[in-house]
């Protein structure tokens, strides 16, 4: 079977409970989980972003997002996860990627954590004409799409070896 530490924390009651954020190699911290929050803990292996896509798409549907917005969400989550795996965790097989989603204030808040130190500088938008002419490398599309498809995207360095991409999608957007 899959070598996956698949943590899907969901409480059908309104009672809060605590769960460890189990990012390997990091000091565990506590977060409040409730019936509007889910967590997914993924291996640092390309392809596993599809677990996050599927889980968060189901969650978004359950709280009322339309199909086109769910497609936007799926692309954004995929890009955040693959960036975390390739750039944040630098492909290290022992690293983990943690994805959390919370529905609050009529919006879905998604965080993707990796064990890296974040971006030195946010990439500029790719210029396809320069890429086609071989003047620029074909990079930067992931962050570009996240910014275009979500209502808000932030890059937060949380501590040494912990970086978060936080995204918001409004239900009415």
């Amino acid at each position: 079977m899959l070598d996956i530490d698949f943590l899907f924390s969901y409480s059908p009651s309104s009672d809060y409970y605590l769960s460890d954020l189990r990012l390997r190699g990091l000091k565990a911290e506590k977060t409040v989980l409730d019936d509007q929050t889910v967590e997914l803990n993924l291996p640092n292996k390309l392809g596993y972003e599809r677990i996050a896509i599927g889980g968060l798409a189901a969650f978004a549907k359950s709280v009322g997002f339309s199909s086109p917005r769910i497609e936007d969400l799926k692309t954004s989550v995929a890009e955040a996860c693959t960036n975390a795996m390739q750039h944040g965790n630098k492909g290290k097989p022992e690293a983990r990627v943690l994805v959390t989603a919370k529905f609050e204030d009529n919006a879905l808040w998604i965080s993707v954590f990796d064990e890296g130190n974040g971006l030195k500088a946010e990439p500029k938008d790719p210029d396809i004409e320069r890429i086609i002419e071989n003047l620029d490398p074909p990079v930067g599309f992931g962050v570009f799409l996240m910014r275009r498809l979500m209502d808000e995207v932030e890059f937060n360095k949380r501590s040494n070896h912990r970086h978060e991409v936080r995204m918001r999608m409004k239900l009415s957007g």
Binding site: L46, R50, I51, E71, T75, P138, V139, F141, G142, L145
Partner: protein, 119 residues
């Protein structure tokens, strides 16, 4: 969770080459897409249609691979049509600017008919 290699079926429709791309399009698609495109060079088609599966998962790595193929078609003065995309990926292709270098058609029939008329 490994991605299966893409299957790319090549068909000639008059002076158009159809590349029927099965499966998801990611950075892992680079060898199969490049190989399929290279195989068209012998006949030197002036028109190529890239057909995707509407359920395909396409990520930024796949977009980068496609743009590199488009760069080659540009250098070879080829007209490119794209079809089979879901509404979401039509929007994404437009956002990243692929539509500056290729025309998206709603169906394969539309693509074949419109591109046949291009001299």
């Amino acid at each position: 969770m490994n991605q299966r290699p893409n299957e790319i079926k090549m068909e000639s429709h008059g002076d158009i080459i159809l590349m029927d791309i099965r499966g998801d399009v990611t950075a892992s698609s680079e060898p199969s897409l490049n190989s399929a495109y290279t195989s068209t060079k012998e006949s030197g088609p002036k028109k190529i249609i890239l057909k995707f599966e509407d359920s395909a998962y396409i990520n930024s790595g796949g977009i980068a691979v496609l743009i590199q193929v488009l760069a080659q078609t540009r250098r070879n003065n080829q007209k490119i049509g794209i079809t089979g995309l879901s509404d979401h990926f039509k929007k994404v292709f437009n956002m990243v600017g692929i539509t500056k270098f290729a025309t998206i058609y709603p169906s394969l029939q539309d693509a074949l008919s419109a591109m046949s008329a291009i001299s």
